[in-house]
């Protein structure tokens, strides 16, 4: 089985780690792999995963639109905006 390395997952995380950070990341990955070997020894068959500590059902609300923050307010924080939209570099030639 291929050994996990930071470099394998950097494109997925949209990151490019520098060499020092990559070495730290590889250390923590190696450590987690060791810890998971211990975890595999714990029998968890049939145990429901705990996603949230609260025993909650899905929270529903009336199907009515609301506006917490206006478009103009949101665009105030945009690094670049054009004509009321977020602007990004050209994506299609």
């Amino acid at each position: 089985m291929a050994k996990n390395t930071a470099e394998m997952y950097e494109p997925m995380a949209k990151l490019s780690l520098d060499s020092e950070t990559r070495a730290w990341a590889d250390d923590i990955i190696a450590r987690l792999e060791g810890e998971f070997e211990k975890m595999e020894k714990v029998d968890t068959d049939g145990v429901e995963p705990l996603v949230t500590v609260l025993d909650l059902k899905n929270v529903l609300r009336e199907d009515v639109s609301s506006q917490l923050v206006s478009r103009d307010t949101l665009l105030e924080n945009a690094p670049e905006e054009y004509d009321g939209y977020f602007q990004v570099p050209k994506t299609i030639d």
Partner: protein
Amino acid sequence: MKFMMQSCLMVKDTVCDGGSKILEGFKSPLSATAYEKCVAAGMEFLGLVTPFEFGIDSLFCDCPDKDGTIDAILEGKCDFVLCNDVYGKMSRMAAVNGLVYLAGAYGTVSRFGIMQTVSSMDRVGVLCKKAEDGIKVLETISGKDEKDGSMLDTEKYDYSAKCDKVKAVKADEVEMKYFDLLPAVFYTLASAELCNNTNRYDGVKFGYRAPDVTDLNDLYLRSRTEGLGKDVQIASMVGCMVLAKENYEKWYFKAMQLRRMIRDYYWALLTDADVLVLDAKCDCGDKFRQLALYALAPLCGFASAAATLDGKPVELVCKPGKENIMFSMITEG
């Protein structure tokens, strides 16, 4: 009372950067419910303090025993600071500096208006000098908020009722089952959630955007790499790894199953006893292993209180509903 907040909690029309370059200049369009409740109760807001990025702690760099948040209380700048203590850094620093850090059980204080970091474990807490002040603040900010979908139904909490008989147990007096596994379970789940929550910092809609980008992928990659700190980068990358198709079942799913077993075990332990007493240390040598001392409360959704007890820095943990019993141990009279 006068208060400050770490800048990972937001105040409308104020620059809140969460201690991260990626949110350089970000002006919040809304205010945290905890902030609104304090102001409505007549408490005076003095300003923001900068936390370690998004309230996490560095596992890779040496961190001092105190920071600007602790200094704000030690130097008497304010009476309390609202924080989101994701990796237990504030709790540890509070206890070793003779201060108090109180955090209610998960779902008792609204998370609306805090920068989501580890959504299933984020808890707004109170750093202060005296436990009595912290209890008053916690009573003020807790209670159901329609803006947070993961809350208990209780509208108001009373944490002030003193309790004379407290059954407290120390970690070396009980079987601390799964204790060795806590750091890995905590770090796996926290990284997965942190990875998802920090995906929004992409240089498109707000915050830092790298200059002179060539295309959209370059914009994402360079903005995030230049804007996020090393610990957040590593946690995001680890999060991607444990959530990847080939690892999901054996790592992430397994960690969630273990989380239930850990919660069920300690729920039973803290039904029999009232409070579990753990050491609070800033330097255990191994920072990853150190997470075990803190991970129990966020993993299980328990309430916690870091303070000095019998001259030693400790972290106390209790089940929801037993907060007043736990707080009785650190209040005077």
